[in-house]
Symmetry: C3
Subunit: 455 residues, 3 copies
Amino acid sequence: MESGTVAPEGRSSGSEADGEAMMALIEELFPICRSITGNGLRQTLRILQRHIPLQINEVPTGTKVFDWTIPNEWNIRDAYIARRDGTRVVDFVAHNLHVVQYSRPVDETMSLADLRPHLHTLPDRPDWIPYRTSYYAENWGFCLSHSAMLRLSDEPYRVVIDTDLAPGHLSYGELQIRGQTEDTVLISCHACHPSLANDNLSGIVVATMLGRHLQKLQPRYSYRFVFVPGTIGSLTWLAQNENALGRVTHGLVLSCLGDPGGMTYKQSRRGDAEIDRIVAHVMGHDAEHHQVRPFVPYGYDERQYCSPGFNLPVGCLTRTPNGEYPEYHSSADNPSLLRPESLGQSLAVLRTIIAVIEGNAVYRNRSPKGEPQLGRRGLYGMVGGERTVGFDQMALLWVLNLSDGDHSLLDIAERAGLPFRSIRAAADALIETALLEQEPAASSATGRADRRRHE
Amino acid sequence: MESGTVAPEGRSSGSEADGEAMMALIEELFPICRSITGNGLRQTLRILQRHIPLQINEVPTGTKVFDWTIPNEWNIRDAYIARRDGTRVVDFVAHNLHVVQYSRPVDETMSLADLRPHLHTLPDRPDWIPYRTSYYAENWGFCLSHSAMLRLSDEPYRVVIDTDLAPGHLSYGELQIRGQTEDTVLISCHACHPSLANDNLSGIVVATMLGRHLQKLQPRYSYRFVFVPGTIGSLTWLAQNENALGRVTHGLVLSCLGDPGGMTYKQSRRGDAEIDRIVAHVMGHDAEHHQVRPFVPYGYDERQYCSPGFNLPVGCLTRTPNGEYPEYHSSADNPSLLRPESLGQSLAVLRTIIAVIEGNAVYRNRSPKGEPQLGRRGLYGMVGGERTVGFDQMALLWVLNLSDGDHSLLDIAERAGLPFRSIRAAADALIETALLEQEPAASSATGRADRRRHE
Amino acid sequence: MESGTVAPEGRSSGSEADGEAMMALIEELFPICRSITGNGLRQTLRILQRHIPLQINEVPTGTKVFDWTIPNEWNIRDAYIARRDGTRVVDFVAHNLHVVQYSRPVDETMSLADLRPHLHTLPDRPDWIPYRTSYYAENWGFCLSHSAMLRLSDEPYRVVIDTDLAPGHLSYGELQIRGQTEDTVLISCHACHPSLANDNLSGIVVATMLGRHLQKLQPRYSYRFVFVPGTIGSLTWLAQNENALGRVTHGLVLSCLGDPGGMTYKQSRRGDAEIDRIVAHVMGHDAEHHQVRPFVPYGYDERQYCSPGFNLPVGCLTRTPNGEYPEYHSSADNPSLLRPESLGQSLAVLRTIIAVIEGNAVYRNRSPKGEPQLGRRGLYGMVGGERTVGFDQMALLWVLNLSDGDHSLLDIAERAGLPFRSIRAAADALIETALLEQEPAASSATGRADRRRHE
């Protein structure tokens, strides 16, 4: 049951149905062997097309993107380590993490000693298979549980990796929603990880559902949802859209949104962009356990969006961040790690964030000399003398007092210590009684004080 | 015993005589039934004229003041609820809080059931009579203790409110003290509450005594003390003085200055106006229990002075603020709540605040290259090598070091962590030895750093 | 073993040899009776010339320096208080603190009562001799232990002070090291205290060793080390170099660097000068116990350098500051108070500070759109997927991300929370692969953000 306008909503709580629907989509996508190129990535994007009208772009191998070049396309059919009798002791068919991503074709028989440097394990987590890649240096390898490796006896093994590494394309998906202005909100998630659930799929499905929600609305901002392979994919998108980047006014990278941990927001490189303030505001009012962290130049694709040549206002929203939960980048990051209610609440917080992005604007009090007489407009209690004033009336007074062209509604909500939805509702009531009017530079959500801060 | 100049004083402590004199005036004013217009207000202002040469202004009903219109004048002769036998069960003569302010005339007999919606009580404080008003919506009502209401039996009552609601005037008082400059300090208090002691009378008498003190001096600033009905009165003053508002450089709204609580300062909307810094400084050095709070657009007439069309540098000084002591807006806010020593200390803190307003200025060290040789000017101990330096000598060094045209004496006091009076005394000693001179823009108390902050 | 370039060093730890060498020099200098003029000061500077090519300047008595005049030169041959039988009860030969500095010649016999006002003791520290001066008011006196004074019997005493107070010169020493630019680092210490070890000699020997270290290098900045009598000496240097003061970009006053206490940095008057940030950064990463304090206009010669007419970026580095250790300005401030390891660590911290001054600069990422591909340049691990990234790689990412012309390497180190030497090493690696280039305004160590902060 989605509303038809982007209105401030009540305290963000996920619907149970949303959570279950997202879990189902994750289960469907989980077995696919995605990589930064290839058919697994394409198949993933096509499944998403059943939910949102994703445009799939194919960029040829060899295309230069800034300092990088799009690599060969990688596709894998099979891979295993087998004993002389054919018994597979490591088998890609059983788990796609068993092969180091971008392994070149191999078909050799070798001793355990020769094989050993190509085996990756997690000694501290002896039952988990690690996730390893070698995209830009030709190599090959297998990942397996440490306990499985210890069980390998010293005998010759047949080692087969049946892959293609050949010119092809890098695929990425994009959903564009045209708003009333060309000012654009960028939502980005990486879609290049094979069977990893929280780090990859949770972000993909939450972004998909958020896109589906926004498609039904008539938003003020335009939206671009990009589903890209990490690093090379976001760089490709940046290179192909370089002229449009000046319109990106807000952005979020999404990942790790299904684990039971609290929410974490990593600020954009700017640190005080409107998106940084909005997410901190929403989480402060809506998310019980949450933290806001400063930007660091490591993490997901915000590294690219926030590189100094772009410096886009793009933060990163997760629950437990990359590298900070034990199951990260291992076979233990599977659907059993996720909670439908976590996915649901992540989506709900994002919808509230979007509502603030959409609803934030600068207004002007048309009766700025003294307080206007709210009573005769039906906006104020008629019997005076009560000890305190209600929250709704405080919101009215705050909006009137600070709507001087210098303060956005978000500025007002922050100074008042009230949730944005209360301030937005007060502004709507004041607009209805003609006490408030939008500032001429109507498309800007940013108060003059804000703008001065950035000059 | 008042001094003839506005010199920095020692640590603010109220004189006992001041406190007792203010208590006596409160006792005299307490029984009068004030409202936002009418004879009770007029009588109050006339009593104040015995202490200060207050000018009483009368503004006709119907005058437009910004978004408001001055209402009919309200005068009350009698009001009661009586049993059939004439016994008054609620009687205005016994306590003027019994009638909702601005009640229209009534003379009816009615059942308790019909009367009930017009009765206001405080169930949580069953022995107190609440204070209620209905200035701008025609209505009538009685206030009584909850226990008295519970004793009313189900019988017909004669209900009489003998009031006039008719064209007349809104009255307010003003004391103007002409200083050396037209830069003006505004002191405002509301004078519209009937028998309420802390919330109303304490502010009125402290303002009166402060005005009497200032009248005997030759201040640098001009002063305007206004005694106005809340909201409509301050709006009227603002409307009548709109062209002079640019000269208001400092302002304070006074109320609730007699209760035993610590002092509270609510900042102006600007938050960093000189008055905000001065009051925080004085309270930090002189008031043992105190707090400074940010502006909120609710409270007393600072709401009007700080509305976005004026944004005057006006804060609000109280002891326990409005709505935060249990007796607020009830019959329990009577003279027994007040302490003479609280009134006295409030006045003393205000006199110190005035001394800082008057004494703050920007000077220039005339020997800015290295330290001047204080010893040969008798400003420094003659034998060197002692482990520490006295506070007085530190004050001299601070004034010399920071008097570069960028720092006011208040800036220096804050950075030095010393009370303003020490810094002022050091400046006076340095002026006497010609090491310090006033900055050319002599009337400004504000350093260049300050001014930059506001650009 | 000193390196040939000013390279970032490892965590500052003093070499044992340095500490012992500095102790030996302190022992040699300790017995000399220095004052603000005279032969003791000259002899001290000549001993330093054995370690560094100090230029000794002689400025005549009577020379005007700003508000001051260079006083007569003071030299002392002998001084004592003797019984009638010639027994010396107080004897300058035994300890040069026994005479108040700048005492005029005396040869009288007087009663204890007449002598008493001229005797200075420390009643709280009955076995210590205090240090007292009377440079600018003609006077005479003796300092002695309080217990010795109590033992004086009521008898006539012969009082002899055999001094000259006559036109001569004020002497000070200066070591100039010419760097690649004329931007200058000022290192200043006072050299006017007689037998006092921590307050005076520790600063002198650490400055001497630091100068010797810098002489062997080819620094970017020019350096001026000044060894001056307190107050009048720094004023004299300022007066003689007034035209060059605009090139002083960093400065430190050194004293009290040998006691066992933690390090203390007192900021320059500016508070946010580059030197203030550098010392705080180095102490934060290298000194276990340390504190940073705001400027106050009392202390050592930073009082003169930071007077409003100069406002030089000069802070003061000590271990336990002046006046805060009990032995300060008494005979207990002798070499037994000092620790060779404290002297060594003070020197090491200073060398690290110099390395940051020398190494700080603004660079520009030449591949600012997205991250450059570090892997193919050998700057990044080749197998991906590990949970965390090493500190060295984080330093590379930080330098790339923030080298936009707005941030110096120090800015980057502060934001990254990494020691400067890691950031400097990352910058060097990036310069080698041509990913980083120096900003055109190459001599400035200050980022644009910094510069804006000061406009």
